[in-house]
Symmetry: C2
Subunit: 215 residues, 2 copies
């Protein structure tokens, strides 16, 4: 018997002001319907990252995304009857370009996850925790927004991921001081006073140096 290597994806996006996960139906029917992470077996001559991108395109159709390796799960009995090692990637999709969902694939609120197969509930919880931590010391939050965005939208993204309200003035002060975004000359109109649009400065260091010792 041989060991199967596969790649699975935790795909997150902001939809309707909340953080949502893209899942694949594994059948079962209501109310016992069970879901799984999208994924595929690793094939010959393909890197893990290529497999992850291929699977991303195959399921969402979307192209503009951010992917990073999360963790590799390999317990012999995590999938009963099969010996699979699964390399899980975390993916963030910009709200505009994210997939529509269809018969098989659907978006689910991260705050109220449905029943998931095998160990995938734990995997998802871990992915969310990692994203929250990462949000605090990297510039990864911008990956969830369109290329230009208002400060209010950015703050909303942070609040959706962290699950917590942030102070408007302090948020702006810190994010601007960090120097990772820059103002454009455009504004976005709507109800009320139009808001200035910002863009991510890709010349900014992605990983900001962490503080010394225990913060």
């Amino acid at each position: 018997m041989t060991i199967e290597v596969r790649v699975d994806l935790v795909l997150l996006s902001l939809r309707q002001e909340s953080l949502q996960v893209f899942l694949e139906s594994a059948g079962g029917g209501e109310p016992r319907e069970t879901w799984r992470l999208p994924g595929c077996a690793l094939v010959e001559r393909q890197s893990l990252e290529q497999a992850a991108w291929g699977c991303l395109k195959g399921t969402t159709g979307g192209a503009d995304a951010y992917l990073e390796q999360l963790y590799t799960y390999g317990d012999p009995d995590r999938v009963p009857g099969h010996r699979t090692v699964s390399c899980v990637y975390l993916g963030l999709l910009r709200s505009d370009g994210s997939a529509p969902g269809g018969e098989i694939h659907q978006w689910h609120r991260a705050a109220r996850l449905p029943r998931l197969m095998h160990d995938q509930g734990a995997i998802l919880k871990y992915a969310l925790t990692r994203l929250r931590y990462k949000l605090e010391y990297t510039a990864v939050g911008f990956e969830l927004l369109p290329q230009t965005f208002t400060l209010t939208e950015l703050q909303g993204a942070y609040e959706a991921v962290l699950g917590e309200d942030l102070d408007k003035r302090n948020f702006r002060r810190r994010i601007l001081r960090a120097g990772v975004i820059e103002a454009t000359k455009s504004h976005r109109s709507g109800e009320g006073r139009p808001a200035r649009l910002y863009r991510y400065r890709d010349d900014a260091v992605a990983e900001v140096k962490a503080r010394r010792l225990f913060p």
Copy 2:
């Protein structure tokens, strides 16, 4: 053709006041001698972590160590002629219980790495970077020291990993304020005034909450 899954180890320890890596000779003879990370193939009915521990015991004999998954490498041509996916674990060995080194295995200074096979030089560099970051926001530094230690020894461990000198008073203030270590009643005598021994508080949270946003 099938894909081999294996586990490789980056084993680090403090020896002679410096951070060292445990490597396996891959032959070649001086001055072209090449080294590799210790590792083994994943076998049926074995979890990744079990394989890592098994390999650790098989090569170092040592038992008291800390292991965590680092990253999984799976490029199709990372090992010419073979299709291997390698799940790499980072291991920290306490200075006292670390393996002696023999014909095949030897310790090497992390600051002056020898020639390594395939992509393993890059893997090692990544492991060192991750450890430095991790040292700054977790309590992982204690894994390199015996169970009781003086503050001077602890500071030495941090300095060896970070490759940088730290201020004695500031280091003590912060490490004590963090509340992850506690004083014992014992002292260690030697030359000069005996130093109080401390021990790691395992009830302390391992992952200290990171700061908000960009530090």
